[in-house]
């Protein structure tokens, strides 16, 4: 059918198909619908979009612009929550580090290990001895 419609069949077969379509109501009906399908598609294809389409689109875009939308900054806007979270985490870590810096200094840290092992609790005080 497609080949017949496009005129791609040899001349004698074209004539045979043509005479068959004239005689057979079923085939001519189906062929007619196929031709109609092509016509429907052709006519739909010829339709023009709304004359004011461009204006409508640009107005919508302006309203997006009014609400602060800009495709160039869209990426940054998506990235914003990530940046806020990252800066909060950085602030917490910085706070912990700062807290560690101001921790009270303990003597134990300065005493060498060998001296720390000596238990001097049993040694008498120098003051007590001098009083005697």
């Amino acid at each position: 059918m497609d080949a017949y419609r496009d005129g791609k069949l040899p001349r004698d077969i074209m004539t045979q198909v043509e005479s068959h379509l004239k005689a057979c109501e079923t085939c001519s009906g189906i062929y007619g619908l196929q031709v109609l399908a092509e016509k429907v598609m052709e006519q739909e294809k010829e339709l023009q979009p709304d004359y004011f389409l461009t204006t409508r689109v640009m107005t919508r875009i302006d309203s997006l612009k009014g609400s602060g939308y800009n495709p160039a900054t869209a990426f940054i806007r998506v990235l914003k929550p990530v940046l806020v979270t990252a800066s909060m985490v950085a602030a917490i870590i910085f706070g912990i580090m700062l807290g560690n810096l101001s921790r009270p200094f303990t003597e134990r840290e300065r005493i060498p290990v060998e001296l720390a092992l000596i238990d001097d609790s049993t040694i008498e005080s120098v003051n007590i001895l001098s009083n005697e």
Binding site: I30, L33, Q34, M41, L47, D50, T54, P71, A72, F75
Partner: protein, 191 residues
């Protein structure tokens, strides 16, 4: 000025340049939408939505494919989504039809050579069969036939848009034509 240059300017903040893209490609997008929806008002609305979507996702266009290919993909996806939503609303439409509240459907394609009211009605009915047959095709076959018949694209371009091979597109088009023929024949037999 090439499409990529225009896009660059838009992304730099010159939004008025988007008008150029809309004017250049509106017919193409509209034809694609019309191929799926078969209704001018719906196709107009969807074309507008497609361009808004394009504007909003312009920063994601990498320029690896042609801008038209990217635009076709967006238009096809938007049309398929619209068709899916419409088929979900079919039950509601049937209820509307049952209670007589359904809007009359637009059938603008009347042959100019017909003056007889009866033949006009028969032709309208046939046009409706054709549309239903087109609508009942599987999504990929439908996409291939719309891009081929409405947009006059070559199989190579269709393959690029559908992200498949030329051979697969050819097979899809053959199956679509066969399916369409069968559906139209069965409609005729049922009548």
């Amino acid at each position: 000025m090439t499409d990529n240059e225009v896009i660059k300017l838009i992304l730099q903040g010159d939004k008025e340049k988007f008008r150029m893209l809309v004017e250049q490609y509106q017919q193409m997008v509209f034809r694609t939408c019309m191929g799926f929806l078969h209704n001018k008002d719906d196709a107009d609305d969807l074309t507008q939505e497609v361009f808004i979507k394009v504007y909003q996702s312009l920063s994601r266009f990498k320029g690896e494919a042609a801008f038209s290919t990217w635009l076709y993909r967006i238009a096809v996806n938007a049309s398929l989504n619209k068709v899916r939503k419409s088929s979900k609303n079919l039950i509601l439409q049937r209820l509307d039809a049952f209670f007589g509240t359904e809007k009359t459907k637009e059938v603008p394609f009347l042959p100019s050579d017909t003056k007889n009211p009866e033949s006009i009605l028969i032709r309208q009915e046939h046009v409706e069969w054709v549309r239903r047959a087109l609508e009942s095709l599987p999504e990929n076959q439908r996409t291939a036939i719309v891009l081929s018949k409405y947009d006059d694209l070559a199989q190579k371009e269709i393959a690029e848009i559908m992200n498949t091979t030329e051979g697969a597109v050819e097979a899809l088009l053959q199956r679509a034509k066969k399916n369409l023929r069968e559906k139209l024949s069965s409609h005729r037999k049922n009548k």
